[in-house]
Amino acid sequence: MAAVRHVMEFERPIVELERQLEDLKRLDVSAQPELAEEIARLESEIEMLKDALYSALTPWERVQVARHPERPKTQDYVAALFSEVVELRGDRAYGDDEAMFAGFGTLDGVRCVVIGHRKGKNTAENIRRNFGSPHPEGFRKARRAMLLAEKFGLPVVSFLDTAGAYPGIEAEERGQAWAIAECLETLAGLRTPVVVVGIGEGGSGGALAIGFGDRLIMLENAYYSVISPEMASLILFKDPQHAAETASALRLTAADLVELGIADEVVQEPRGGAHRDPALVLAAVEAAVSRALRDLLGVPRDELVTRRQARLAAIGAAFVRE
């Protein structure tokens, strides 16, 4: 298990108990025999509390886990799942957006095009990668990679992890909405398999631009939402403090998405979140993606697109009344 530095709000009670436990352990047990019992009791309580807490995370708590800074990032998945990686850069029009990864990689012997939002692992990297929020050129780079995949018959594997497309002045001026829409149109008709993995944040249109296809695999604590819980709270309650409530209302968890017919599969995370045992999660995701790819590589291209479009057409159709 990796040592975890960042503590989430809802973990504070546990951390407090763990601190007390450390204090107790520092005392002289031989002088106070009842102390050993106290320590054992506290240890067991902590375990029970952890089980209780982590086994029933609320949607808002899951959002926090999804945003945990030590959570495995797209670059971790690329490095762990793929060999022979070649990065592709640039949109051939304006720039290379480091908030978006694009490249080739080989997973279990299958050559793929890989795309994904790319957050940093520290402040310097986050600044360079704009905290994983792409500008239009990021989406245009992803679109270029999708078209290469189609042209050369390679499946696409996409990793979602963004708070959203960047809401900046220049991003708007260079056509954020246009860049996203063009990705959607391209994905909708792309004649090659597309496997999407929600690994962390799935923030609105910026996630969706590379976030649908023939399979949607969600990590247990990844979220995918039309709007951030905070923003929804601000709009609905004129107050950002109701995020926990809106997080529940928005139905943004992996389990919700399966129930709504949007996601296909949930990859379980270790207790406490993916950052507690990245290797385990990386292996589980690799297995899931590999299965999905092998399923999809057998489907004729036209059939693939027909199915993908039918699946999209069905979303929401069950909830209208004429």
Partner: protein, 307 residues
């Protein structure tokens, strides 16, 4: 009789005239109104006759979806489709206020079943599917019904080989339907893709305001994009941009006029010239001067109408 006249005559016989159920429902009762652009007092009748464009300063005031559609369609040719479609509240959303109540209030206020109105019409004699969004209906946000109606509109146009003309005005995706709403962006973009792959023409008119998941899905995929004067159009709203970047916004930021300069809109067209401009654009997009088009020829005689 030229084909277009024949069409017009034929369609006029067949189509019922949909009356604007709710025109001006939002306007105050007074006969005189104050223009938000120039503060002039304007006679309400004059404003309405001028498609809600101020005769003094040209300021474009909101129009209802029906007002927009009837202004675009050739006289008496508009026939609404999917008129009664409503949402069943897929998430049972109750945060702050139950979505069911929000929907009921919007229906009550507007007389509409949802935020978009679609239908068949002739535009400058060209068989088209028309759509328009009504901002009064929960900010014309896109949920399952808007997504479904937009998708059906494009599929219907494809089946009947009609052009599509769509007037937008929306705050974005409808929060109260969560991921169902977000996915409508992909669903409508997929519908445009199917339509566009069939070689048929799509003209979008961006009205004020058009934002978020609506901008970033079907309208900007149009072959020709027009916008109304002063319309605010973008992905992220100006307030969010200002708060995120802590920069003051440039003059004209996200206005239709600046979108032309930035390369995303073909022309800003005053509402009073819109029908004529759209018709002229369709004259080109439906012309097919190069004959050997085999597949993908735009706007021939629509199929399935002879029945």
């Amino acid at each position: 009789m030229p084909v277009s006249d024949w069409f017009r005559a034929r369609e006029q016989r067949r189509y019922t005239v949909a009356s604007p159920k709710t025109a001006s429902a939002d306007l105050p009762d007074g006969v005189w109104l104050k223009c938000a652009g120039c503060k002039h007092t304007v006679y309400r009748g004059d404003l309405e006759k001028n498609l809600n464009v101020c005769p003094h300063c040209g300021h474009h005031t909101e129009l209802t979806a029906f007002e927009r559609l009837l202004a675009l369609a050739d006289d008496g040719t508009f026939e609404e489709t999917d008129a009664t479609m409503t949402s069943t509240d897929p998430l049972r959303f109750t945060a702050a206020k139950p979505y069911a109540e929000t929907l009921a209030a919007a229906r009550e206020k507007t007389g509409l079943s949802e935020a978009v109105v679609t239908g068949r019409a002739l535009v400058g004699g060209h068989p088209a599917v028309l759509g328009a969004m009504d901002f009064r209906f929960i900010g014309a946000s896109m949920g399952s019904v808007v997504g479904e109606k937009v998708s059906r509109a494009f599929d219907r146009a494809r089946d009947e080989r009609r052009a599509v003309v769509f007037v937008t005005a929306s705050g974005g995706a409808r929060m109260q339907e969560g991921m169902i709403s977000l996915m409508q962006m992909a669903k409508t973009a997929a519908a445009v893709r199917r339509f566009s792959d069939a070689g048929l023409p799509f003209v979008a008119v961006l009205g004020n305001p058009t934002y978020g998941g609506v901008t970033a899905s079907f309208p900007v995929l149009a072959d020709v994009i027009l916008a109304e004067p002063g319309a605010m159009v973008g992905f992220a709203g100006p307030k969010l941009v200002e708060e995120t970047t802590r920069q003051s916004l440039p003059k004209g930021f996200q206005t239709a006029e600046s979108l032309v300069r930035h390369g995303f809109v073909d022309a800003v067209v005053p509402r009073t010239e819109l029908a004529q401009t759209v018709a002229r654009v369709l004259d080109y997009l439906c012309a097919q001067e190069v004959p050997e088009a085999a597949e993908g020829a735009a706007c021939p005689v629509p199929r399935g109408e002879g029945s």
